[in-house]
């Protein structure tokens, strides 16, 4: 997360008008990543605000990944996996679903804007859905504004 600290976007972030959200997406390699790939090869347009981290399965995503993104100033986090029933490992996304509903509600309880952490199921054939989800996500996070809550202090 530190690599982008000094990037031009960060500097722009200080100027509210030009601020563009930075989003990290944890994508399961079997479905969502392939879906995003399809969106690219089909030349679908979607905002460039998302950085993709490819993971073996949405069940691999640890709540710590999400937390570490948020406290380091990432404006939004997306966890995306296969549709229920399509998991390459049969049940990984079932576990992810349980885990992240708890995290999502907890973060909201502690005062983190619920728009900052989202989940989606996107299959390898849903390039259009991927483009749509990213568009919506960027729009929502733009409304939520920059994640500045954790900037103070060391």
């Amino acid at each position: 997360m530190t690599a982008t600290e000094g990037s031009p976007e960060r500097k722009r972030g200080k100027d509210k008008k030009d601020w563009e959200p930075r989003i990290v997406g944890f994508l399961c390699k079997w479905c969502s990543y392939a879906g995003a790939d399809l969106a690219g090869t089909s030349r679908l347009q979607y905002p460039p605000n998302i950085r993709i981290v490819r993971v073996p399965c949405s069940g691999r995503v640890n709540p710590l990944f999400v937390l570490k993104c948020l406290v380091n100033g990432i404006d939004g986090v997306l966890v995306s996996g296969c549709h229920i029933g399509d998991c390459h490992y049969s049940e990984g996304n079932f576990y992810a679903r349980r885990r992240f509903v708890i995290l999502k509600r907890l973060l909201e309880y502690l005062g983190i804007d619920p728009r900052r952490f989202q989940m989606s199921w996107i299959s390898a054939s849903e390039g259009d859905k991927w483009a749509r989800v990213v568009k919506e996500l960027v729009e929502e996070i733009k409304q939520a504004g920059p994640n500045t809550e954790f900037r103070k202090g060391i």
Binding site: V71, L110, S120, E136
Partner: protein, 294 residues
């Protein structure tokens, strides 16, 4: 009651059914209570039982793996033993549970206040939402004699305070927890006192990679407190030890309660009631809620 506890403990040690009894003794200050570890039958007279016995002694079971242990357990303590059994951290045959009926323990934090009047010490908040007075698991049960003052119950809604906080605005909530977490000194007492935090190496101590900031800043404190709570999701049995141990008064039980409520509402799951049920996050249901997923 205490005589029966002593007698049982003495018998267990004498007949070598257990190697060690974990119980309560009077602390050097003469009022409060300290944990005691007894391996000689004649030393069992040190044992005591009263409303100052606040500790969840099952935290110490991990220190004595492989030995036969007798442990004095209140209802909440016994529930954490159930979770430990459920997660294969203990062998049932290795522990002998001396269950004690409990009508509530004192609010120990008040002992710290400037001039403690023993009579004024109320029951701990956690006891007000505790359901059973008898442990759900035991080898021998020591029941109360006669009538004892009972901790007043939260009759209507055990999650009333959680609901109240939920209703606040996002920025209000953030401000509240920012203030609370900013006091955190990262002593990890919440982790160390928790009977269910038994990882040999906590993520907070890992350096390769280093998951959370060591700095005593809001950033690190937030990550730590959320991580701790998440690791107890569906496991916490609300013994309240973390909040009691916290030297700076962070309302950790409130966070635990929030998760407990969600888990109950979403999955109809309650931790620490049966050692046979599967751990919440290592099982699933096809119909788990997913309205939050796009």
């Amino acid at each position: 009651m205490i005589d029966r506890i002593k007698k049982k403990a003495e018998e267990l040690l004498r007949t070598k059914q257990v190697d060690l009894i974990i119980g309560y003794k009077r602390a050097p200050d003469g009022v409060s209570v300290a944990p005691v570890f007894i391996d000689k039958a004649e030393e069992t007279k040190e044992l005591i039982w009263d409303t100052y016995c606040v500790y969840n002694l099952s935290n110490y079971l991990k220190d004595f793996r492989g030995r036969k242990i007798g442990i004095i357990a209140k209802a909440c303590d016994a529930r954490s033993i159930i979770v430990l059994l459920q997660e294969n951290q203990l062998k049932r045959k290795d522990i002998f549970i001396i269950g004690v009926e409990c009508s509530g323990i004192v609010d120990e934090k008040k002992l710290l206040s400037i001039s403690p009047q023993t009579s004024e010490l109320g029951f701990d908040e956690r006891c007000r939402s505790c359901k059973p007075s008898k442990p759900p698991i035991y080898d021998v049960l020591i029941v109360q004699e006669g009538q004892r003052p009972q901790a007043p119950r939260l009759e209507k809604d055990p999650y009333g305070s959680v609901r109240k906080s939920e209703a606040k605005s996002i920025s209000e909530k953030f401000k509240l927890w920012q203030e609370e977490f900013s006091r955190c000194i990262r002593c990890y007492a919440c982790r160390q006192i928790c009977p269910l935090c038994y990882c040999p190496r906590c993520v907070a101590d890992q350096t390769q990679p280093s998951w959370l900031s060591r700095a005593h800043s809001f950033r690190g404190n937030f990550t730590w407190n959320v991580t701790r709570a998440m690791h107890l999701a569906g496991r916490c049995i609300d013994c309240g030890e973390c909040e009691r141990a916290c030297p700076v008064g962070i309302p950790l039980r409130d966070i635990n309660k929030k998760i407990e409520k969600d888990v109950k509402e979403l999955f109809n799951y309650e931790a620490g009631l049966s050692a046979e049920q599967k751990a919440l996050l290592s099982c699933f249901d096809k119909n788990d809620p997913e309205d939050f997923i796009r």
